[in-house]
């Protein structure tokens, strides 16, 4: 697989970076402190067409390739991880529609998502079903020309502010989550839907992570995605692609921390010389830079492979997410170290970046789940996989 950055990619990066540095970075500390969703930045990103990059032009999107979408997420995350989730979750929540939706479903919902008029969330995780997706319990019962949804979802990013949620619920509990789950498009204005609680989090604090309740929510049949029983397949296909957004976010967080560390070390004087002139600091910065670059290039390679529709794309997207998430954690931790005491206080951005980085090792599949995905592909390639999937269930 080869990929190449084009002049258009460079131009895109320059444009998004300018916007992120001038308009997003100055807001980052305040968003973290206030824990309020940055509606103004959502509007700004919508106005600049940056919420529609994953959608086809006929639905009002800008149809950037995977590398272009990664660059957008990365450059926003470099300034503020919370804000980068706005385009990332717009893609995550809509991927079930993009992958499994009918033409009618797409033309009804995608234009409003591409313009940023509506936000969308991805409703899969439940309190007792995290990595073990197949143990989902939420129910969808047939009722006349539609379904009645009952149950709860937890840890749903943007769940409390989205206009639309793609929800996964059991239509056939006997068959279990793997074969008995179906996917639905739910408008959050529907009676019976509520988001009673948002979590208090270590990082990405301006991005509301909500608990969702469904109390007899009526969903018309035309809002079911694919056939009954397709839910698990749709959820996995979504996560196999969406986790690239998290990889890109992690690369951006790492780059932001690296840039902050270099700037600080060049400015700070101790023992009569700039901190950046100490070889011990240079070695740390060099490790941070090379690891970030490696994560970035793996993310771009994975993006190109997803665009090419390769059969083994989960191997690549999980590898990118695993490497990028761990890199973000390591680089932000080292950035705090470079800044010393100043790195530990909220006057400088790196402690926030370190808190933000942690989530990239957890959501859209923990790092352990990524390893299971990678290993399963690895065994398949080597022709030594078991007939049935690994004992750990079917990891996202």
């Amino acid at each position: 697989m080869t990929y190449r950055l084009t002049p258009e990619h460079d131009e895109l990066r320059a444009v998004v970076r300018e916007l992120a540095e001038e308009r997003i970075a100055p807001r980052a500390a305040e968003i973290d402190e206030s824990r309020e969703f940055p509606w103004d930045l959502k509007d700004l990103l919508a106005r600049q067409d940056l919420l529609g990059t994953c959608f086809e032009e006929r639905y009002g999107g800008t149809a950037l390739d995977g590398i272009g979408q990664s660059i957008v997420a990365e450059e926003i995350a470099r300034a503020d991880a919370t804000t980068s989730l706005i385009p990332i979750v717009q893609k995550l929540g809509s991927l079930p529609i993009t992958l499994a939706g009918s033409e009618e479903q797409k033309s009804r919902y995608i234009p409003r998502l591409a313009s940023g008029e509506w936000l969308v969330a991805f409703g899969l995780t439940e309190a007792a079903a995290g990595s073990d997706v197949a143990s989902n319990r939420m129910r969808a019962r047939r009722d006349g020309g539609g379904y009645r949804l009952n149950g709860s979802k937890r840890f749903i990013t943007h769940g409390s502010i989205a206009n639309l949620v793609t929800v996964f619920a059991l239509t056939d509990p006997e068959a279990g989550g793997r074969r008995g789950m179906s996917a639905f498009i739910v408008e959050t204005a529907a009676p019976g839907f509520s988001a009673p609680r948002v979590e208090h989090k270590m990082g990405i604090r301006g991005s509301p992570t909500a608990e969702l309740h469904f109390d007899d929510v009526l969903v018309p049949e035309e809002n079911r995605l694919g056939d009954e029983g397709d839910g698990f397949k749709i959820a996995m296909a979504t996560l196999d692609r969406s986790r690239l957004g998290i990889a890109a976010q992690a690369v951006g967080i790492a780059q932001g921390a690296l840039d902050a560390a270099v700037a600080y070390a060049a400015d700070r004087t101790q023992f009569g010389q700039r901190v950046v002139d100490f070889q011990g600091i240079q070695f740390m910065l060099a490790d941070m830079a090379s690891q970030t670059e490696a994560a970035r290039q793996l993310t771009y390679a994975a993006a190109a492979i997803v665009d090419a529709g390769a059969a083994d794309l989960p191997y690549w997207t999980s590898s990118a997410k695993l490497i990028a998430g761990d890199t973000a954690m390591r680089v932000t931790t080292d950035a705090v170290q470079v800044l010393g005491g100043y790195g530990y206080i909220s006057e400088y951005p790196v402690e926030r970046m370190m808190r933000d980085a942690k989530i990239t090792q957890l959501y859209e599949g923990t790092q352990q789940i990524q390893r299971l995905v990678i290993a399963r592909q690895l065994l398949r390639r080597a022709g030594v996989s078991r007939g049935t999937p690994a004992a750990a269930g079917s990891p996202p």
Binding site: L12, V15, E18, Q48, D49, L50, T62
Partner: protein
């Protein structure tokens, strides 16, 4: 109603600038951007078009070939077409030559309003709007905080020490605006994509019917030097508040500031 924004590509303010042996800016050395003060003229033009007061917006720049990047960036913000005047004979053009060339290009483009920023970020001469208006023999409305078009007259508001003046003139004319017109917009992604398909013409001096012999610069750069270094900052550090106050008072007294 046709409006042409004249813009200049300049080195970014933050860029380190190097000069050639004959004291011209080495343009390869510095990141180039649209002159930030011209972005306000672009914003003003786009607002007029959105309000329905202007039908067509063109951009005009004189510069090396790479100045087409600035024109593309302007087209990404909005507007319809762009023209770059570029010619080897124009390297190192002074105010007089630049104004002659822009005036000739504007004669050919024939806009109702030629709109400019109040100054360029690199040279800061602020002479071009007046020079172009004089050469073309049209009115000049300069330093507007807002430009309006009403029938066949254009009006600007110009801030003064005590309030503002409103000046009006019949079109065609030249106008310049300040940074008071409103924050320039960012180019949107769709704008950037659309800009690639908008017409961008390149004209040489011959296309303007100008001969390079008529265009000898009348001014000459004798020397280029960095601004004088500021004296080192004196810091009062690692002393008690009482001691610091005494030192500060002494410092001010020594300069007869207390």
């Amino acid at each position: 109603m046709k409006l042409v924004v004249c813009l200049k590509q300049v080195p970014a303010t933050t860029a380190e600038k190097r000069y050639t042996a004959d004291f011209r800016l080495d343009r390869r050395s510095a990141e180039a951007v649209i002159n930030p003060l011209d972005e306000y003229a672009i914003e003003q033009a786009l607002r007029l078009q959105e309000a329905g007061a202007v039908d067509t917006i063109g951009y005009l720049s004189m510069g090396p070939e790479q100045a087409s990047e600035a024109l593309r960036r302007a087209l990404a913000m909005g507007g319809d077409e762009a023209t770059l005047v570029t010619d080897d004979a124009l390297a190192g053009a002074d105010v007089w030559v630049t104004a002659r060339v822009l005036a000739a290009a504007l004669d050919k483009l024939a806009p109702d309003v030629a709109l400019m920023g109040m100054a360029s970020d690199d040279a800061r001469g602020s002479l071009i709007p007046g020079a172009v208006a004089a050469i073309r023999g049209v009115p000049l409305l300069s330093y507007g905080s807002e430009l309006r078009i009403d029938g066949d007259v254009a009006r600007i508001r110009r801030l003064t020490a005590t309030g503002h003046d409103v000046l009006e003139a019949p079109m065609p004319l030249v106008a310049s605006v300040t940074d008071q017109v409103g924050e320039p917009r960012y180019a949107s992604l769709k704008g950037i994509m659309a800009a690639k398909r908008k017409p961008l013409d390149t004209w040489s001096l011959a296309d303007l019917g100008l001969a390079s012999e008529e265009l000898a610069s009348r001014s000459r750069v004798i020397e280029v030097r960095p601004p004088p270094a500021k004296a080192a900052t004196e810091r009062i550090e690692n002393v008690s508040a009482d001691e610091a106050a005494v030192k500060l008072a002494d410092w001010l007294a020594a300069r007869k500031l207390l």
